[in-house]
């Protein structure tokens, strides 16, 4: 019974990941990134659950990878959520605003993803459940050319794999 339930949960999580956030958090060009919070009840342990009830991303200051207290609080919730759903593996994608060069920003995005990963690992999440990737400035959440958009784009986004 328990195994069946876990299997069903994993399936729901996989479906949610495919239909919702996978494209936004991948180098693939298929589909549009949909990151808006889902409506209705999200399946526990799913991508939608992570986005709606935990918080899938943390934000950074310009050119920084320091985790603010707000970012740490989000990652604390992610760590607790990952402890509750031990079958879930995640990928953390680091992103940058477009106020840096293309190549430097790949490394800066990696540094941000790495900071979030290290924090989760320090909170007890197994390192082999977390992969990281960086999109530099190529996968902006907000597409405006203003301070507000740049602040949204300096992030590390955790997504269910």
């Amino acid at each position: 019974m328990k195994l069946k339930l876990l299997g069903a949960l994993a399936l729901v999580a996989a479906l949610a990941a495919c239909s919702d956030n996978k494209a936004a958090n991948s180098g693939s060009a298929s589909g549009l990134g949909a990151t808006s919070a889902p409506t209705g009840a999200a399946a526990p342990g799913s991508e939608a659950d992570l986005v709606a009830n935990v918080g899938d991303r943390v934000y950074f200051e310009l050119a920084q990878n320091t985790l603010s207290s707000e970012a740490q609080a989000t990652l604390d919730r992610q760590a607790a959520w990952l402890a509750r759903y031990p079958q879930v593996t995640v990928q953390i994608a680091g992103n940058c605003d477009d106020r840096g060069t293309d190549e430097y920003n790949i490394a800066l995005g990696n540094r941000r993803a790495n900071a979030a990963r290290d924090y989760l690992v320090a909170k007890g999440v197994s390192a082999d459940r977390i992969s990281t990737i960086s999109y530099g400035k190529d996968r902006p959440t907000a597409t405006g050319d203003d301070e507000q958009s740049w602040a949204q784009n300096r992030n590390a986004i955790t997504a269910v794999r």
Binding site: A24, A29, S30, L32, E103, I106, P140
Partner: protein
């Protein structure tokens, strides 16, 4: 992934005077009319100075920047002759160093031109040509004259397929550039870049390649994965670039003739920012490790990557000096992204950028005398150049966002990507003296240009 092969005309070494050219183009010298060729044997082209000899130039590049050379280019004849004349004129006018005289009439008929007529038009040089034949057997005869002295500077006949007309036109423009200015031309070259389309939050990116003037644009990859930063091999028809294929961002080698792709080097982290060594035997690149990235060289022959930096900070955007002895790179080891130069074996890194703001995307000129870079300050982005020791910094152009400077083979012009606020990215060019800035046409959005070596 669908791949369209970029093979067309093959690439082998090109010679200025005489001999077989690539892609079935045969070049033979043309006798000067009514002149005994220096060197004594009639029927040969006048002994041209060695291409690299600056003494052979009619005018210096510095002179031509302030006073572009007036050159008459009467039509090479109907059909492809007209089209070739247009391409040659566009190349020469586009570089900013020549002033083609619009619709110059042919004066004097066949044989020795009527120099007095060209002189009264204000022409200093005359590029005259004829085309004959059709299909697979086209012959283009081209002569370059100094109008003031009446001396034939160059005479060459090209035998080729009519399909090569555009390439012959670029080759002729290169000959004119070299004879008049003493520097090799760069018109018979291509630009590889990343073509972008779709919403900015999730742009579709494809490698694309075109002639330097925007003609013959072809797409090389299918757009399934994010691709970045193509870079030309110095002699072979190969490109190093970064692909996010299978969500594993790595540096790949792309064979333009076969379309074959292969990962370069084995890295646990993300590998990116590739550039070939000047001898083409290896690629220098960076790879992430922890929160930083290190610089490595990867031999094309295989083997373990050789690590050149170990700062713990971000070290990236490496680029060799043209003699292969040094590497300029971008690092935030001092707290913010700045430019550093180190020996090609690693070690001895010294900072060379000291202006306000941050620096990135360094690229060493093929002439060796300059490093181009991006500088980012509160006012936006700028492209500049400085000497390899960091002195003599000059800003060439500014913008909301500019990136990816790339030198043409003779080091006189930079191509780059530009994006204005709220706009998509496009390509531009600017002379390293900071003048003649212009856009390069592409069918859609364009980023990360890489200028090829001369086709050879």
């Amino acid at each position: 992934m669908s791949i369209i092969s970029a093979s067309g005309d093959g690439l082998t070494r090109r010679r200025l005077v005489g001999g077989a050219l690539a892609g079935g183009i045969l070049a033979t010298p043309l006798a000067a009319f009514g002149q005994n060729a220096p060197g004594g044997f009639p029927g040969a082209a006048p002994a041209a100075p060695a291409p690299d000899a600056p003494g052979g130039a009619e005018i210096t590049v510095d002179q031509a920047r302030t006073a572009p050379i007036p050159i008459a280019i009467p039509s090479f004849g109907p059909g492809i002759g007209d089209q070739m004349t247009q391409v040659i004129s566009n190349d020469l006018a586009g570089c900013g160093l020549f002033r083609p005289l619009g619709a110059a009439a042919s004066a004097g008929g066949p044989g020795v031109p009527d120099f007095a007529a060209y002189k009264s038009m204000g022409a200093q040089a005359l590029a005259a040509g004829t085309t004959s034949g059709s299909g697979a057997g086209v012959r283009v005869e081209f002569r370059l004259w100094n109008v003031l002295t009446g001396q034939q500077l160059q005479g060459t006949a090209y035998s080729t397929s009519g399909a090569n007309w555009r390439r012959i036109a670029h080759i002729i423009a290169d000959v004119i550039y070299e004879r008049m200015l003493g520097d090799k031309g760069y018109f018979d070259t291509r630009i590889c870049y990343v073509a972008t389309s779709g919403p900015r939050s999730h742009e579709t990116t494809r490698l694309a390649i075109m002639d330097q003037d925007g003609a013959n644009n072809r797409v090389l990859t299918g757009g399934e994965w994010l691709v970045k930063t193509p870079r030309f091999h110095p002699t072979r028809d190969e490109i190093a670039f970064m692909s996010y294929a299978n969500d594993r961002p790595r540096v790949y080698l792309f064979d333009l003739n076969s379309g074959r792709q292969q990962v370069l080097g084995e890295f646990a982290g993300i590998s990116f920012a590739p550039r070939f060594s000047p001898d083409g035997s290896s690629v220098v690149m960076s790879a992430t490790r922890g929160g930083g990235s290190d610089i490595y060289t990867v031999s094309l022959g295989g083997g373990t990557p050789r690590q050149l930096t170990d700062s713990g900070a971000i070290d990236t955007s490496p680029c060799y000096s043209p003699d292969g002895s040094q590497i300029v790179f971008n690092s935030d080891r001092g707290g913010s992204p700045q430019l550093y130069v180190m020996g090609a074996g690693g070690g001895g890194a010294r900072r060379i950028s000291y202006g306000s703001g941050t620096y990135g995307s360094p690229v060493w000129s093929p002439r060796g005398d300059l490093i181009a870079f991006i500088r980012i300050g509160s006012g936006g982005f700028a492209i500049g150049v400085m000497a390899p020791d960091g002195t003599g910094e000059r800003i060439l152009t500014r913008g909301f966002s500019v990136d990816s400077p790339t030198f043409c083979p003779n080091g006189r012009v930079l191509a780059y990507a530009r994006r204005g606020a709220g706009a998509s990215s496009s390509l531009g060019q600017i002379d390293i003296a900071g003048f003649n800035e212009r856009s390069v046409p592409t069918p859609g959005g364009a980023e990360a240009p890489a200028w090829s070596p001369l086709k050879g």
